[in-house]
């Protein structure tokens, strides 16, 4: 590993050569920047991984069952486990998806589960991402580069290869493909923050990178528009566009990124969409509170992976606790993502605390509060110096005939010594994640 650290400039040159960037909007302008890569990997022992893997499979299976249930029978609501209001007031719930069962009954084909490791070694789930979780391509290409630059590192360490992520995606696409149609990744375009990933995965998975104008829906069937009016049936779309922009006739009418009538083709079962529409109801920060209960309800098992201690001000008892202990909690706006809408009580002044108290009292459903997890710091290189920073792990779970966990993950770290926010959009960097074979 020493050689990997020594050669980090070479690694970064290779990253630049491959165009490993992410886009960011600042002041209304689009900028592309390199995603800072730290050469010291996060290492997860084989034993730890066995438990994490089992917990992730269990959690994602339950979440898929929840989605199938919530858009059909709603047994979990009828059983009183989740209040009805939590479903219908979720910004991710889509009434248009009621009664729709996607191809092979899979809703979340690619799930990004954010975890942190507490100082006692326990892994805790912070967030589920079931809509368009991104970031897997970065450790995938980082591994390609680090194996080139420092082969001895991988001779000396028995690490699972992570370059099969695109194969896992492709298998999931093959599995849900309707009538063996074309397989495409639908991108909003090169000015999307994750465009590198869209194009890289299309290349590595051997599928077509499609833009909205390349697709057309005729007779409730999606076609790829070839040259001179040629039409080719599309069987599966791995979309990298949010639900609300996917179909201007069904959702946001001003969207130029979507494909008119795509929702009709999907509802008719003529095309598979990865991930399914309406998944946002399951990764709502408010619904997160109920995931361990979902595991018990659908699988009859105790959840292997625990949530961070979470309070829902929607419940009077929790609200009282939150209002009394605001200074020691982290408050999250359920409508926000990407590290936005996260406030630490200890960092707020009296006026800010009064404001947030007022907001919690008037719109309790919009907020959750969590105990601040003192998660472990990871070593990163800062020039020639080794320093410690907060980091999380996004694990990727692929659901096809079986549910599988990719033997790697995106480890993001904060570059600020006082911050807990690791998101790349807020200046964070990334590391490779090594899962040890033994």
């Amino acid at each position: 590993m020493y050689s990997l650290v020594k050669q980090r400039d070479t690694v970064n040159k290779w990253m630049e050569r491959f165009g490993v960037r992410f886009g960011i909007y600042k002041g209304g302008n689009f900028h592309e920047q390199l995603f800072p890569f730290d050469p010291i990997p996060r290492i997860i022992s084989h034993n730890d991984w066995v438990e994490i893997e089992a917990g992730l499979i269990q959690r994602v299976n339950a979440l898929n069952m929840f989605l199938a249930d919530i858009y059909n029978e709603k047994r979990i609501v009828k059983s009183g486990i989740i209040p009805e209001e939590f479903i219908y007031s979720s910004s991710g719930y889509m009434a248009q998806c009621e009664g729709i069962t996607p191809s092979k009954s899979i809703f979340s084909h690619i799930s990004g589960i954010d975890l942190v490791q507490a100082k006692d070694g326990k892994w805790i789930v912070l967030e589920d991402n079931l809509r368009i979780p991104s970031g897997a391509s970065y450790p995938m290409i980082a591994r390609t580069v680090t194996r080139k630059v420092s082969p001895e590192t991988f001779k000396e360490n028995a690490v699972f290869d992570n370059r099969n992520y695109s194969t896992l995606i492709r298998k999931a696409m093959d599995y849900v493909n309707v009538d063996n149609g074309l397989e495409v990744i639908l991108t909003p375009g090169r000015y999307n923050s994750a465009y590198f990933e869209h194009s890289y995965l299309a290349e590595k998975a051997g599928v077509i990178l499609a833009f909205a104008d390349d697709l057309i829906v005729e007779n409730d069937t999606v076609y790829y528009k070839g040259l001179f009016e040629k039409r080719e049936r599309v069987g599966v779309i791995y979309r990298r566009i949010s639900d609300e922009y996917l179909d201007p006739l069904a959702f946001e009418s001003s969207s130029l990124l979507g494909v008119p009538n795509l929702m009709r083709a999907y509802a008719t079962g003529n095309v598979a969409i990865m991930n399914a529409l309406g998944n946002g109801v399951a990764d709502d920060k408010g619904i997160y509170y109920f995931v361990p209960k979902m595991v018990e309800f659908y699988l009859g098992e105790k959840a292997i992976l625990q949530n961070a201690p979470t309070y829902l001000p929607y419940f009077e008892e929790d609200k009282k606790y939150v209002l009394e202990n605001l200074k020691t909690l982290v408050i999250k706006d359920v409508a926000e993502a990407g590290g936005y809408g996260v406030m630490f009580g200890c960092e707020m002044n009296e006026e800010q605390l009064a404001n947030i108290k007022n907001l919690i009292e008037t719109d309790s459903r919009r907020w959750i509060a969590q105990e601040v997890i003192d998660f472990i710091d990871l070593e990163i290189m800062d020039g020639e110096e080794r320093i410690f920073r907060k980091s999380d792990l996004r694990a990727f779970v692929i659901s096809e005939a079986e549910t599988k966990v990719w033997h790697s993950g995106l480890t993001r770290y904060t570059r600020s010594p006082t911050s807990f926010i690791v998101n790349s959009s807020q200046g964070g960097g990334f590391k490779d994640t090594w899962i040890m074979k033994k």
Binding site: G19, D161, R163, S166, D174, E183, V184, K204, F211, L227
Partner: protein
């Protein structure tokens, strides 16, 4: 090591993709040939004709908005805010390449990234045209990679169709002899006859009639060359 077990081959060219393939070829060739033509004019500027850059602008069909040879060197090569600059041509190559990564492969796209990183180095910008031999080398590697890595003939020939169109256009503008232009035209015919559906056949027939020793420098021929693409 990654193995792709899936058997289905996903392949398709939409008209927007065809346009990107064609313009990728054109812009990449424009970068390569512009540097080639520039070197000849910079050579003249050493001791024969200080204003050769003005002739260059006229032949390229661009306005001479440059105040001096030094100003031309700086702004025509490296000024990103100048839409005609070489760095801007490279940005257009990058725009098209990025949207075609799955067809041209990351290994080909790398050469475009390397060009832009090289052009943006302050020490290279201080050297002027002498510092850009590496861009020429990268562009040759880019074309080699297109030939070696793209197995889909339709994709490869569409890019090369753009390359040959640009090449004919620039060779005519810079007064190259007929046999040189004809040679490029024949290479283009050889390429498009195999598998390329984005060349307009009627325009091609008309061009064949007018691309003669006597007429090849007429503006009408340039117009025909620039109308060959259809999608």
């Amino acid at each position: 090591m990654q193995t792709l077990i899936a058997t289905k081959i996903n392949s398709g060219i939409s008209s927007a993709k065809a346009s990107r393939l064609y313009w990728l070829g054109r812009y990449a060739e424009r970068v390569y040939l512009t540097l080639h033509m520039l070197r000849k004019h910079f050579d003249l500027m050493i001791d024969e004709d200080q204003d050769a850059y003005i002739t260059f602008c006229t032949k390229m069909g661009i306005e001479n908005k440059y105040r001096s040879p030094e100003d031309f060197t700086k702004r025509y090569l490296f000024d990103i805010s100048n839409p005609e600059s070489v760095i801007n041509m490279l940005e257009r190559v990058k725009d098209n390449s990025m949207t075609l990564r799955e067809e041209i492969m990351s290994e080909t796209l790398c050469y475009v990234e390397l060009c832009i990183a090289h052009m943006n180095k302050p020490e290279v910008q201080r050297c002027g045209i002498e510092g850009l031999q590496r861009i020429t080398d990268y562009m040759l590697a880019f074309w080699g990679s297109i030939d070696e890595r793209i197995v889909n003939n339709e994709i490869r020939h569409s890019i090369k169709f753009g390359k040959f169109v640009e090449s004919m256009d620039l060779h005519i503008r810079f007064d190259y002899q007929f046999n040189r232009v004809e040679g490029i035209f024949n290479r283009m015919l050889h390429s498009i006859e195999k598998e390329c559906y984005i060349c307009d056949e009627m325009t091609l027939l008309t061009l064949k009639q007018h691309l003669t020793f006597d007429d090849y420098k007429n503006i009408g021929v340039l117009q025909l060359i620039n109308s060959l693409f259809r999608a």
